[in-house]
């Protein structure tokens, strides 16, 4: 088990890893939950299990204080605990481990949240929260770093060779202009997240030439054509810009060339 976690953490992004879907990649991640409320605890464990996460559940602060961090990929910590305060648990854990910590807090008290962040919590989640919200936050914490082994960047079947400035899709090399390459690279570096048009105009387009958002759209349109079956990965995000989906599987674009912007397929939670 430990080995599998280690391999998950270290070999994130490896080419041979099974990539049936987003959550299956996280099956190996074990989460430690510290939550005193029975009903909420059961729900969280169930939802995490439904998404493929294994969860160990501690119901009070004392056992959380003495628990060993080894073997866990993430700590979900409730702050209101009987016996001890969650912040003390957090402090104790930070002394021993760099494990990501997501704090669950019912308090609207900014001081507690700020203190939790100061003590090394990665982020917090305010109750009430939706199960999807929790899963999205956990997944974001456990998301594989986009980069990369050596000089290669891979988003699904799209492989980018950085030094050679070459791009292969499903083994087929794409003929890209320098701007198209930079555009793809910028999106690939933050695969899964939307990148704003303004940022792309400023950072991708050749500063020597007149560039505006319309120019950008033209480049995106050409790049999308060149991506062929994977063109759906390059999604237009309403009001924002573009996003390169990092989901393992995206339905191939049908040949009719339907606009991809309205396809919400990249929202894993829908």
């Amino acid at each position: 088990m430990l080995q599998r976690i280690a391999s998950f953490l270290v070999d994130a992004g490896c080419v041979d890893c099974p990539k049936a879907n987003e959550t299956s990649a996280s099956v190996t991640a074990k989460i430690l939950l510290v939550e005193d409320d029975e009903k909420l605890g059961i729900q969280i464990v169930e939802h995490l299990a439904g998404a493929g996460f294994q969860t160990a559940w501690l119901r009070d602060g004392f056992s959380a204080l003495s628990a060993e961090p080894q073997g866990y990929a993430l700590l979900l910590l409730d702050l209101m605990l009987p016996g001890t305060h969650g912040l003390d648990v957090l402090k104790r854990w930070r002394e021993r481990s760099d494990l990501p910590v997501l704090v669950l807090s019912a308090k609207q008290d900014a001081a507690v949240k700020v203190r939790a962040l100061e003590l090394g919590a990665d982020d917090y989640l305010t109750k009430p929260f939706w199960p999807e919200e929790l899963l999205a936050r956990v997944s974001a914490r456990l998301r594989r770093p986009v980069l990369t082994r050596g000089d290669k960047l891979e988003v699904g079947p799209i492989a980018i060779d950085l030094p050679a400035r070459r791009v292969h899709v499903e083994g087929r090399e794409l003929e890209l202009t320098p701007v198209e390459f930079e555009l793809l690279l910028a999106l690939a570096r933050r695969a899964g997240a939307a990148v704003s048009r303004a940022w792309l105009v400023e950072n991708v387009l050749d500063p020597e030439r007149e560039g505006n958002e319309r120019t950008l759209d033209v480049h995106v349109s050409r790049l999308r054509k060149k991506l062929g079956t994977q063109s759906r990965r390059l999604a237009t995000v309403w009001g924002v810009g573009y996003r390169l989906s990092d989901e393992s599987f995206v339905a191939p674009t049908d040949t009719s060339g339907k606009a991809p912007s309205s396809a919400p397929s990249e929202e894993g939670s829908t």
């Binding site: 609207q108 982020d123 009430p128 999807e132 919200e133 303004a198 995000v237 009001g239 924002v240 919400p264």
Partner: protein
Amino acid sequence: MRLRARLALTLVALAVPLVGGAVWLRAEMSERASIQGLVDYARLRMVSGGKEACEDSPTTFQDPPLPPRARDGGPLGDFDPLGPPGERGLARDLEPRDFGSRGVDSRPAGARDADARDPNRRAPDMREPDARGADVDRPDRRGLDPREFDPRGPQMRGDRRGRGPGIGPGPRVELWAYGPDFASANPRAPKFPPELRSTLEHGRRDAGTIADDDDERTTTVAARMTWSEGPCAMVIVRRREPRPGDGVLVDVVAAGLLASVLLGGVLAAVGPIVRRVRKLEDSVSHSAATNYSETVSVEGSDEVTDLARAFNAAGATVRTQIDAVEKRERTLRSFVENTTHDVMLPLTVLQGHLTRMRNELSRGATPERETVREALEESHYLASLVQNLGAAAKLESGEPDVRRDPFSWNKLVERVILRHKTIAAEKGVELDYAVPDEDVRAAGDVTLVEQALSNVVHNAVRYNKSGGHVAVLLSANDGRFQVRAFDDGPGVPEVELARIAERSYRTDVARARHPDGLGLGLSIAKDVAERHGFELELKRSEAGGLEVEFRGPQLV
């Protein structure tokens, strides 16, 4: 202890030892002067003929000489107390500066003046020795100034009763001569007093004692002469006089009178102060009784005035704190009331949705997706409402300033988006965002700021239709952050936008569920932005919906 009593006691405590000390000092000085006067008298007497008389007939020498009629009597016969003053003139001739000046200085000015004004009164004193001591001083009596020297001692000067036998019993002075061995050749001479003898044996040139009995004071002095040989090397002078006890009494009475006058004066001076303090006390009590809403009256310009001002300052502080506590309590109470009212409504709606789903299930039917969606939305709204009421309570509590913790806008935007994504997806509203790679940080109360943005996004999703869009963009330029949230929903009429910018959530708490739906949430967003010094702009978005933009200083 009251102020007056304390003052009086302090004065008495100070006056008693002071008066006692002064009386004692005066008695001590007068005794010393008296002794020194007798010593001077003895030396002068012996120098100006006494020595010769003594050495001529040491066995019978005494001064004044025993009168013939009393020669058979005791040594303490009825002498002229003034003794033979004739030698005084001689003394001045012999040692004019020394004795003369000493004699003058040792006398109170008043006594000298009295004598000077009435020199005749001294005449009998001077004449008397003539008859009895003619053998000694007759040649020297010219030029005698009786004021120069008076062996009777300072106490007797100016005392009319001591002026002679005719007026009353005056001092009686007698002088005896002794050899170096403290023994007198004159068998009539009294034994050399042992305490004086021991003092002289210890090297002193002279010594004296004063002893009082019931009605008489006896001053005895012993003095070595400048010569140390012969039967007259030492002299004892003894003076007897009525006891001057009333002098001390007068001193004490005078001092007591003075102290009383002083005390009375001080108490009289303290009176107005005490009155002012009492008035201040009343005023302060009154102010305290009104919870410090009434101030203490300030008049005059002394320490009591300062005290009154200090009371007012302290009272104002207390008043401010009481106000703050009361305001917080009112806020809390209205929060509980508003929460109860506002939460019960959506809860009732939620219960209705859940009941309908249960009924549909029990009929064997599948619950309508619309019912489920509304239930989800209602619970989402509930959570948001409670958080808003909490934020409103925080904003309204009157805390002077919001927290200024650094926070990451990137993370905040992500949290807000994830918070509403479930409901947006349920409604078919596409909710997305973009944040820069690098962290955009700002300072503030992260809970309030998150609530502000959350309200904007919530509104955008809530009043959008299926297939609509909501986007949030975070960017930073020139040290300022910019957060834009916009949608393609129905939008808000310009008039309403202006109203939102003007009104406060305070007026809207009760109508949080107003159909326009923009009340509480946007009002709080506006207030939070104000409290943080952020700019908040509401306008029509390019897509026709609402666009809300936060701008503020970036934390580097």
